[in-house]
């Protein structure tokens, strides 16, 4: 029993079918618990008023926007090194989810920014690097769509993902150098001192878990769709040959 057994599409389909209902159930449960707890059962924060509640969407979405790209990078590397098709399809499936997470983070940030900073948008390093990340996702998805040969598309997008990762990190630091920030520092870190108070922190953790589960569920579901699309294409091709 090893991880690589799931490189077999058949095995992947069976296992994912078995675990998906559980993952969806956990996602729904943790999402409801986290959001209800966060929205209705926490006090209003000092200096923030009720606007602090949007944090339960903003921070998890922002975290998953970055983690989705990291997952795509790992999947791309696995595809380039071990040529497992499921891996390439998982990277493809994760991109639109990551794009949406980036968009949610940008939108909730803008809605939060209006009452707090008096503006929807500022050229703050964090905001700017998220906009750049958004463009990277767009380019990656567009390249997948543009190439017809599925193997060449998987190879080229993997190369783009690796190069893009380097440039995304580089942009992050370049942007830091370019402008000073309005955005507050890290809300969650391993250093306890920096953390927000426990009343906000615990529901936020639940929301983070919910978003991770949501991401896993969506990516599994989308990967299954991609595998089915491949199978249908293969069937059509076989039909034509006969």
């Amino acid at each position: 029993m090893s991880l690589w057994e799931y490189a077999n599409p058949q095995k992947f389909m069976q296992t994912s079918q078995a675990v998906l209902p559980a993952i969806w159930g956990l996602t729904a449960l943790s999402m409801v618990v986290g959001l209800v707890w966060g929205f209705f059962l926490t006090p209003e924060a000092e200096n923030f008023g009720s606007t602090v509640k949007i944090i339960y969407l903003h921070v998890p979405a922002a975290m998953m926007a970055i983690n989705a790209w990291v997952m795509m990078l790992v999947a791309s590397l696995i595809w380039l090194i071990r040529r497992h098709h499921v891996s390439a399809l998982a990277a493809r499936a994760a991109a639109p989810v990551g794009l949406t997470m980036t968009l949610i983070a940008l939108a909730t940030g803008a809605i939060w920014g209006q009452p707090m900073w008096g503006t929807y948008w500022a050229w703050d390093p964090r905001l700017t690097s998220f906009l750049i990340l958004f463009l990277f996702y767009l380019g990656y998805i567009a390249l997948w769509e543009a190439i017809e040969n599925p193997d060449a598309a998987a190879d080229l997008t993997s190369v783009l993902c690796i190069v893009g990762s380097v440039f995304a990190v580089l942009s992050r630091y370049a942007v830091n150098f370019w402008n000073q920030g309005l955005h507050q520092g890290a809300t969650l870190s391993l250093d306890k001192q920096e953390n927000i108070a426990n009343v906000f922190w615990l529901p936020l953790l639940v929301c983070l878990g919910a978003f991770i589960l949501l991401f896993v569920a969506l990516v599994l579901e989308r990967t299954r769709t991609e595998i089915r699309v491949r199978r249908i294409k293969a069937l059509i091709a076989r039909e034509r040959m006969a």
């Binding site: 080229l156 190069v163 893009g164 580089l170 370049a174 150098f177």
Partner: protein
């Protein structure tokens, strides 16, 4: 490899289009800006470093799809790929030829266009220096983007979408170096970062671009 470099240069200059077009585009961008933002001296001087860098970057982008497209169509890219020189070297030479035909003329023309935008006198040297340091990175990143999209029939628009986000760090440090130079501040840090980006892209991206070409020729 030198023969390949000279061949690409000769093709770019004699085939028309690419060579002068980038410069003309740069000129037009710079001329259009005052129509958009108004002719006030102060505003133009303040935005001149950024406009000159963005203009150079867009002019660079124009000729990128020509790097491999013609060779791909007539089959000479297959010959180059099977030639006894490494494909990484071919890619580097292509990027070098692209730089000599676009980046270098843009660098040399930039001070004249800076005059149109009332660039601060102190900034002219920094403008030329930063463009000379930064445009090789633009050519190399663009060559990588062209290698990714070489097999596509209408890759031009996709190429811009792929390449422009990769240009962000170069643009930031380039424009920042000129802006700080214009304001009389120390600008060694952005210049060093710019040189670092150029050297790193020249060292690493030929491998990525050659890998992309091998995939596209498969």
């Amino acid at each position: 490899m030198i023969a390949l470099f000279l061949r690409d240069l000769a093709l770019a200059i004699r085939a028309g289009g690419g060579f002068g077009l980038g410069l003309a585009f740069f000129l037009i961008v710079v001329v259009l800006v005052p129509f958009g933002v108004g002719p006030e001296r102060g505003i133009l001087a303040a935005i001149a470093p950024g406009i000159l860098w963005v203009g150079a970057l867009l002019a660079c982008l124009l000729s990128l799809d020509r790097i491999f497209a013609l060779d791909f169509e007539d089959g000479s890219l297959d010959l180059l790929a099977t030639a006894p020189i490494p494909l990484e070297g071919v890619v580097a030479m292509k990027a070098a030829a692209h730089w000599v035909t676009t980046g270098l003329p843009l660098t040399l023309a930039a001070p004249v266009l800076g005059l149109l935008l009332h660039l601060e006198p102190a900034a002219y040297g920094w403008l030329v220096l930063s463009l000379a340091l930064g445009t090789p990175a633009l050519s190399m990143i663009g060559t990588f983007g062209a290698a990714l999209t070489v097999g596509l029939r209408r890759g031009g628009l996709l190429l811009s979408l792929l390449v422009l986000p990769l240009y962000v760090p170069t643009l930031i440090f380039g424009a920042e170096a000129v802006a700080r130079g214009a304001a009389g501040q120390a600008n060694a840090t952005p210049l060093l970062m710019l040189a670092g980006i150029t050297l790193a892209t020249l060292a690493l991206l030929p491998f990525a671009a050659a890998a992309a070409i091998r995939i596209n020729l498969r």
